[in-house]
Symmetry: C2
Subunit: 312 residues, 2 copies
């Protein structure tokens, strides 16, 4: 059993690779929900949906998020009705938000609604929200406290990030299925997602760090930073403005004492010794994931690396 | 000031004609809401939306309902997620349902949400739900009690109608704006809508018949039955199975003591004397409405007919 901690696009790509490289039903993906928000009365879960769509093979390959070939007629009509269409909701994508919102309002847990969506989409792996309680990433900037989507989408990540906090995190407990998945795990993988706002909230959930520490299986992180840059998203800028080194070493320091090994890009092999000095093992390989074959290849290498540590 | 009582497609067509034939801002349309229902957690108001879209000039001219050129991608995705896509919700149409549901959940009245939508769509006339309280038409058939949409859409009006009732009608009061519109009306027009399930629920709202009786202005009905047939919908079959004569005369009998005049199709002029014998005046004219010019022409004739009675 493999448990992967994932945020959005980068995490979803590696999760898809893991589902290809192992029996898919032996994979559980624990997904960040701190980017979730309400829009037009619908509950939007960007990272969960990116993982769902990617594992279902219907994700938009151009953007990484949304559904391939989706259209935007409803959003156009929402704009005609006088509302700001700042968040790109596709027509097919809306179906997910509508049905999820209906089920949540009926009292079904987020874990339950995501399980239903995953089954309907033919996904064999388990996709679990990090918690059933609502958590909201707040970004502290010179313009004030911004919600994550305001910072990330509406304001195009232009604001300097002075701090990040997770509203509601004190009441967000690890769910039973998530706790059980970590108990049963042979390997835990921190996907190449933003360490601050994707993996960060997952680790901040009540009981999550304890569950990770109790799991004696190898824990491996894949660096989302390659040659000082994030492939996607604001991880690099965020790390810098929060005082972290913008490199796989900086990421390794954040995860220190939680992980046993770090996978970094072959272009960053010069950092290997410094990372090993933190007390973890290092694998350098090609970590940029293009197509599904790429993702499966990286996943297989990460699994081999992790399993080799279990045997030591 | 003109007040029109309307259901769906036929009522919306005459309402559009009235908005063209008079200053649009002097028209108030009181609309049936007993077909309203919840689907996928969204509040759907078929008759209100048909009136909105028709007066906004964006209605689908082929069907009479829905939005011209609308697509059905979200509905396809809803089906992919395992839900029955039995009710044709277009992508643009969904925007209306989503934003209405959001506003209703925020505590805004149905009257308020429809006013917001009408303003956003540039409609100068007032569109008012018959009541802010939920009412649901139930159709008694040999297969049991059916909700209206189950009878009408899902089961294609195939069931024999033994009776019709309006759940919630005892708690549904006429809204203040609707009562005031009737007080201020110079003319009240019963549009060519189904007398049983479109005009019927409007008349059954608490306070509606009293408000109509108090209004001393002329009240005119336009027959939805031409040569024994409804142009659209199940009005003819319903009238027959409920024991009414399926003709303009049968409709006039249902509205007797509420209206002062009846407009019937020129093809039914033979019924004129029998309808006059009920104590009302009769206008025979071409009542089939094709394009907007047709609708405005019929509306102008109906207004002239009504106003001529006010002067007597």
């Amino acid at each position: 059993m493999i448990v992967a901690l994932a945020g959005g696009v980068g995490g979803a790509k590696l999760a898809q690779g893991l589902a290809l490289a192992t029996p898919a039903e032996e994979l559980t993906v624990l997904v960040n929900t701190a980017d979730d928000f309400d829009l037009y009365g619908l509950r939007i879960c960007p990272d969960l949906d990116t993982v769902l769509y990617t594992l279902a093979g219907i994700a938009n390959p151009e953007t990484g998020w949304g559904i391939a070939g989706d259209t935007f007629s409803a959003l156009g009509a929402i704009a005609r009705l006088g509302r700001d269409p700042w968040f790109r909701l596709g027509d097919q994508d809306l179906a997910t938000h509508i049905l999820r919102t209906e089920r949540l309002r009926a009292g079904v847990s987020l874990t339950g609604t995501i399980a239903e969506l995953a089954v309907a989409l033919g996904i064999m792996s388990r996709i679990l929200p990090m918690s059933d309680a609502p958590v909201a990433t707040m970004v502290d900037t010179p313009s004030g406290q911004l919600t994550f989507q305001d910072y990330f989408v509406a304001r195009h990540q232009q604001d300097e990030v002075r701090g990040v906090s997770f509203a509601g995190i004190d009441d967000a407990e690890i769910s039973q299925p998530a706790a059980r998945a970590l108990e049963d795990a042979d390997l835990v993988i921190f996907c190449p997602s933003n360490p601050i706002v994707s993996i960060g909230p997952i680790l901040a959930v009540q009981g999550m760090r304890d569950a990770l520490r109790r799991a004696t299986t190898p824990k491996i992180a894949v660096s989302p930073i390659i040659q000082g840059k994030a492939l996607k998203g604001p991880a690099d800028k965020m790390l810098a403005s929060l005082g972290h080194e913008v490199s796989a070493l900086g990421v390794a320091r954040i995860y220190a004492r939680l992980i046993d090994g770090m996978v970094l890009d072959v272009r960053d092999s010069g950092l290997g010794a410094s990372i090993e000095a933190l007390g973890m093992r290092v694998l350098c390989t090609e970590t940029i994931m293009g197509d599904a074959a790429d993702r499966a290849r990286l996943a297989a290498e990460v699994i081999d690396f992790g399993m080799s540590m279990a045997q030591v």
